[in-house]
């Protein structure tokens, strides 16, 4: 019945140790179930003890009452004296409790002791009421005795007396009856408790079986299989299955991204390396020192470019990692925007581009990741600068503008370059798509922008700048509840 989900051979030593230390869900379930059942059974048995005693008393008190009434019937006033003639049948009634001793006393409040046991002085626990029979337990002659007690008036025309009858019977038959009732009832209770415990054990096994099935399904998979689990499981474990499937999907995506990244990196590094090699060969084969010097200059420039590319790749890796691992937090959008503007103002000027920042807001709170936003802005600005400053002799502008709309913040990066053809606008966010190969670029910057924006649930649009050029327009949701909190 007790199925281990995994045979211990499949576990390494650490896992075995952990398994040994780990608390068992099933054990807890069974233990708590058994405790509850034991407590209930204990209460039930306790009640049965009381009840069976009451029941035995009820039955035997009837005998006692009947015997006492028969005695009472044979008490009369004769010549103003109380006379008692105990009928044989009264004690035949008591003899039904065959092993029990009998004690009795009849006395008159006026005349004193009449018959029975002279030293039997028993007072009922309750205030005596005339003509009302009382039953109570009291110790007498070294044994616990059940007494019936009755006081009543005897009257005839000349006189009146109060007569008191006490009739007692030891409790042997009562205890015997009570214990036989109790024994049977306790047997039943214990049986029920055992059945309940067995059901709990079987139930715990059945309840945990779907978990084991999920376990087996995962354990039996071939390496690298991250497809969703398809086995049928009950509602209770459905969420677990879905969670595992989601987790595996994320893992799959991460793996894919890693693969993409590796491919990107290889792609990005191959071209500059090839041109480096060509330049180096050129330098080696050239005999003239001037040409060699020129080739070496080219090699240095190419190295700079390679270094930039590696930085970009690193940033992309960091961004991708952050997007996977960091939660979005409330942040001021203006901080990364101003930072990237500040960073690019001087390099842009070197390329003949005047970068300006237009914003009338003091702060702009959104839910996001600062580093990723900054990377996005850098890419957008670099992109704008690169495409507007290309082969232009006169100075041009790139404007970064932030506006507040009703539900969103709008960021615009405006350049006055050549613009992007309508049919290309759809493709610029594709990986390695480069609109123009005469302009240096990696082809991954905008796809990274798109990734970041998707992650922030933001929207990007490419518009045409008038008279010419391109405007990248990003709409990002405001942090709505944050404002409410202020």
């Amino acid at each position: 019945m007790w199925q281990k989900s995994l045979s211990p051979q499949n576990l390494n030593d650490d896992e075995k140790l952990a398994l040994k230390k780990a608390p068992s869900l099933r054990f807890r379930f069974i233990v708590s179930g058994v405790i509850v059942i034991c407590v209930i059974a204990g209460i039930a048995i306790n009640l049965i003890f009381d009840y069976s005693r009451q029941l035995a008393d009820l039955s035997y008190d009837r005998l006692l009452r009947s015997a006492l009434l028969q005695m009472d019937e044979n008490i009369a006033l004769i010549d103003n004296q109380v006379s008692v003639d105990i009928p044989w049948s009264a004690f035949a009634t008591l003899a039904q409790a065959d092993e029990d001793r009998v004690f009795y006393k009849v006395e008159s409040l006026e005349q004193g002791f009449i018959t029975g046991y002279d030293n039997l002085d028993s007072q009922p626990p309750k205030q005596p009421v005339l003509d009302q029979m009382q039953f109570y337990n009291q110790s007498y002659s070294g044994e616990s005795v059940r007494f019936a007690w009755l006081e009543r008036h005897l009257t005839n025309p000349e006189s009146a007396q109060t007569v008191r009858i006490i009739l007692g019977q030891t409790r042997l038959s009562r205890e015997k009856m009570a214990s036989s009732i109790t024994q049977r009832a306790v047997e039943v209770v214990v049986l029920i408790a055992l059945v309940a415990i067995a059901l709990i054990m079987i139930g715990s096994h059945l309840v945990l079986r779907p978990l084991h099935r999920i376990e087996w399904a995962l354990e039996e998979r071939v390496k690298g299989d991250l497809t969703p689990i398809t086995i049928n499981t009950p509602k209770e474990t459905h969420h677990l299955k879905v969670a595992i499937n989601h987790f595996m999907a994320r893992l799959q995506k991460n793996l894919e991204q890693l693969e993409n990244y590796t491919a990107d990196a290889a792609h990005q590094l191959r071209t500059p390396l090839a041109s480096l090699k060509a330049l180096a060969e050129n330098a080696r084969d050239n005999t003239s020192p001037e040409k060699q010097h020129l080739a070496l200059e080219n090699i240095v420039r190419q190295c700079d470019y390679l270094s930039q590319t590696v930085t970009l790749l690193l940033n992309q890796a960091v961004v991708s990692h952050r997007l996977q691992t960091h939660r979005l937090e409330p942040m001021d959008l203006l901080v990364p925007i101003t930072a990237s503007c500040r960073e690019h103002a001087v390099p842009a000027l070197h390329q003949g581009v005047r970068l300006s920042y237009e914003c009338s807001l003091q702060e702009a709170w959104v839910l996001g990741d600062g580093f990723s936003i900054q990377q996005m802005m850098q890419n957008l600005i670099e992109n704008a600068v690169r495409y507007s400053g290309h082969q232009k002799q006169q100075q041009t502008d790139v404007i970064v503008r932030v506006e507040e709309l009703s539900k969103t913040y709008r960021i615009q990066v405006i350049d006055y370059g050549d613009g992007i053809a309508e049919e290309e606008k759809e493709r610029v966010f594709e990986r390695f798509y480069r609109a123009r190969y005469d302009i240096a670029g990696s082809g991954v910057g905008l796809s990274m922008v798109k990734d970041i924006l998707d992650h922030h649930h933001a929207h990007i649009e490419i518009l045409d700048t008038q008279p010419k050029g391109t405007t990248f327009q990003v709409d990002i949701d405001k942090l709505s509840f944050f404002r409410g909190r202020i």
């Binding site: 006379s83 008692v84 003639d85 105990i86 009928p87 044989w88 009264a90 004690f91 035949a92 008591l94 003899a95 065959d98 092993e99 029990d100 001793r101 009998v102 004690f103 009849v106 009449i114 018959t115 029975g116 046991y117 002659s141 070294g142 044994e143």
Partner: protein
């Protein structure tokens, strides 16, 4: 009344001690001594005691013959340090009352466990014989046909008043515990007949005795023509050897009486007392009672129907039950009234 009974008791006690000294059975150098207080005539009991000490040579038995009523008061008086470890009586009611009032101790063995529930109470009181209560007549001296039952006895008394006067013997119920028990049971079984008998006995000057064997002696001698309510075992024993005597089981109803034993609460030697009870209940002793004509065993061997120690009553039998009803007969008020009525019936006649 109570005080009066106590005086009787003290008087009787000293008398008993004077009259019946202790009889010893067994070897003098036996390591253990079992003292038995018993209301059983030694003639019926001696062979059983002899056999017991023969089987258990370590035990020496001291046997003290005590009247049933004396035995009752003696047991109460000696309750804290009794001399005897076993009390045997035919007065079932007094023995029952001793157990009810807490003067006995519990004993249990395989033999007592096998004893039917009707023959024991609380594992403290054990009956070992069941005998009929009979009339014993002197065939030669009895006037008219021998009586079959109480009615025909009454008729004979009426018809032969002169011949019956002073010639019927029965127990003095004030002195004999078993006598009182039998009289009260008679009254219970047939109240009307008892009334008439009492009246007839009183008007014909019935002789009263303390003990069975005195009545039997006088019946045998012809001093009495009839003994009423006698213990069957003694009557049967004597009738067997004496042609003049005839034992009659009344046809209207025959009372059946048990003899019972108990171990007093603080008995000095309860182990051997238990041993003796086991011996009395054993097949060997029960068989001995029947075969040697000593007592009526509880379960007689009924193969031999001519055996005088197998009860073959002509009419119904009324077994005096060993239960709480016995206490009613010994109820203080009832007992007082019963004895007073008995005295009135007898004394009125004496005055005349």
């Amino acid at each position: 009344m109570k005080a009066w009974l106590t005086i009787i008791m003290c008087f009787g006690l000293s008398l008993a001690w004077a009259e019946s000294p202790t009889v010893w059975f067994g070897k003098k150098n036996a390591s253990r001594v079992l003292v038995i207080n018993s209301a059983l005539d030694l003639t019926s009991f001696e062979p059983i005691l002899q056999d017991f000490v023969a089987q258990y040579p370590d035990v020496r038995v001291a046997y003290r013959d005590v009247n049933t009523l004396e035995l009752y008061y003696l047991t109460i008086e000696e309750q804290s340090s009794p001399v005897a470890s076993l009390a045997i009586s035919s007065a079932m009611d007094l023995h029952f009352k001793l157990v009810n009032d807490g003067y006995a101790r519990t004993y249990q063995s395989s033999l007592t466990d096998n004893l039917p529930q009707d023959f024991k109470w609380r594992d403290q009181l054990f009956a070992f014989s069941l005998e009929p209560i009979v009339m014993l007549v002197n065939k030669d001296a009895f006037p008219g046909p021998l009586p079959e039952d109480r009615q025909s006895l009454l008729q004979t008394i009426r018809q032969h008043g002169q011949a019956m006067t002073k010639r019927i013997g029965t127990y003095d119920i004030r002195q004999s515990g078993v006598g009182y028990l039998l009289a009260s049971q008679d009254a219970r079984q047939a109240d009307l007949t008892w009334g008439r008998l009492l009246e007839a006995f009183g008007s014909h000057d019935v002789q009263t005795y303390c003990c069975t064997h005195n009545i039997i002696d006088d019946v045998a001698d012809g001093k009495l023509v009839l003994g009423y309510n006698l213990l069957g075992s003694y009557a049967s024993q004597r009738a067997k050897d004496d042609d003049r005597l005839k034992m009659i089981l009344p046809k209207d109803f025959t009372l059946m009486l048990m003899r019972a034993a108990l171990i007093p609460k603080n008995a000095p030697n309860p182990q051997d007392a238990g041993l003796f009870i086991d011996f009395l209940l054993s097949d060997r002793a029960q068989k001995m009672m029947q075969e040697q004509g000593l007592l009526f065993p509880i379960h007689p061997d009924v193969k031999n129907t001519d055996d005088p120690f197998v009860v073959s009553a002509p009419g119904p039998t009324g077994i005096i039950e060993l239960d709480q009803q016995l206490l009613v007969g010994r109820d203080y008020a009832k007992q007082q009234r019963f004895i007073r009525n008995w005295e009135i019936a007898f004394e009125i006649q004496r005055e005349e």
